[in-house]
Symmetry: C2
Subunit: 243 residues, 2 copies
């Protein structure tokens, strides 16, 4: 399935403005401004000025949150987004209710307590982000994430992503039966996305601290419908024969 | 969601020809003709003449199977369909490879060995069939069944059905996490069906024989998307106010 660009010129625009550069700019800005986020249960709130809001929007981290304070603007980052900025890009500090900066180990423990599969979902998130995919919540499609080639203003998301752990001991895990696989593949087809399974193997690390992450390995699988009618003979061969 | 009839006159046609009558005709015919089916792993093959083929088609049991024998026509029944005709309607006998008629207990044991959740899926199937719904495989939507108000030639299926056992100890069972629920509800919405969960409680019966089925209880739940914008004020009240 080819990327579905939104309108003419979008592809050229995206090519001229690589996502890796935008994320680097965001990273530099956050480091220089010594930005602090506030830990708020499953997310992190960041007070932003116009420049930071623009960078977060362009790099697709978090969402603007409207508050009663007219002169202040806030962004809310999901736990994977926040931890990616803290731990992977080392450009954000997160402050707890007590006003103290949380270490990566503390954030890791906190989010693991909120979401058992956080180590796996974060590994999948960071794996795709490192490859310069834009990764957003897949909630409305019943998957973990959706992945965009560039900014969602320019292109539709190409992949519906499920992060599963190798062995899949999680009893609430996905794709444990054919009926779920069928359902997910059918839905992905109807919204023109490819189902991407990111299989995370923790290699028997027990996920006590985020340093385990470097020992995790990741395998990618896409699942698509196989249409026997279409695949029976190669279309090109048939066309060449007809000439 | 209202039933989606296929074209004008379909609803009147369905009303004039109740499904309960069609199934009764099929039942009488099968009893009088002493029809035998052949057990074939997960399904049952029935050799049919023109009249029986017509009745099976109208009552929506099984599918015609094309074979090399030109003068013979065969229908293939799924295990739930076959067992409904044998056990619930008592109008079909099934013969094994040895040429002997299988008892209901033998068929029950055989299909349980082929499909662990057979007792639950059969209870759901027969529950809906008893209420004169037409029940067909939901494979292409990643659910157990789809349910039609009348013949699929007249109306689209209204419900996508998942049969789950109370307590849901089946590790491969559906709807164990929110992501699966979202995925399924979203898919059902996109194909204009309502998700119907048929919850089967075996009341601690151990499913040794089909006589357990009478002690099973069934609960129905539909799951639909709640749109807060649409539900905020009752539309009728607003319209009355505007008058």
């Amino acid at each position: 399935m080819k990327p579905r660009w939104k309108g003419k010129g979008s592809e050229a625009k995206a090519m001229a403005d690589p996502m890796s550069m935008i994320v680097s700019q965001l990273q530099s800005f956050l480091i220089q401004s010594e930005t602090r986020g506030l830990l708020s249960s499953c997310s992190v709130l960041v007070e932003v000025d116009a420049e930071l809001a623009d960078l977060l929007n362009r790099a697709c981290f978090g969402r603007p949150r409207i508050t009663a304070e007219k002169d202040k603007q806030w962004f809310q980052l999901d736990m994977e987004e926040a931890f990616y900025l803290c731990f992977s890009l080392k450009c954000l500090k997160v402050v707890g209710e007590d006003g103290c900066i949380k270490s990566n180990e503390e954030l890791w423990g906190h989010w693991k307590s909120k979401k058992v599969v956080f180590p796996v979902s974060f590994k999948a998130y960071s794996h795709l982000r490192h490859k310069n995919w834009i990764v957003r919540s897949g909630l409305q499609y019943g998957v973990d994430f959706v992945a965009y080639r560039h900014h969602p203003a320019l292109v539709h998301s190409e992949y519906a992503v499920l992060a599963v752990s190798e062995g899949n001991n999680d009893q609430n895990g996905r794709l444990r039966g054919w009926s779920d696989v069928h359902c997910t593949v059918r839905l992905c087809g109807s919204v023109a996305k490819t189902l991407l399974i990111v299989i995370v193997n923790n290699n028997s690390q027990c996920a006590i601290s985020p340093s385990c992450l470097e020992h995790y390995t990741v395998e990618e699988r896409t699942i698509t419908r196989w249409n026997p009618e279409q695949s029976r003979e190669d279309q090109e061969i048939l066309e060449n024969r007809a000439k």
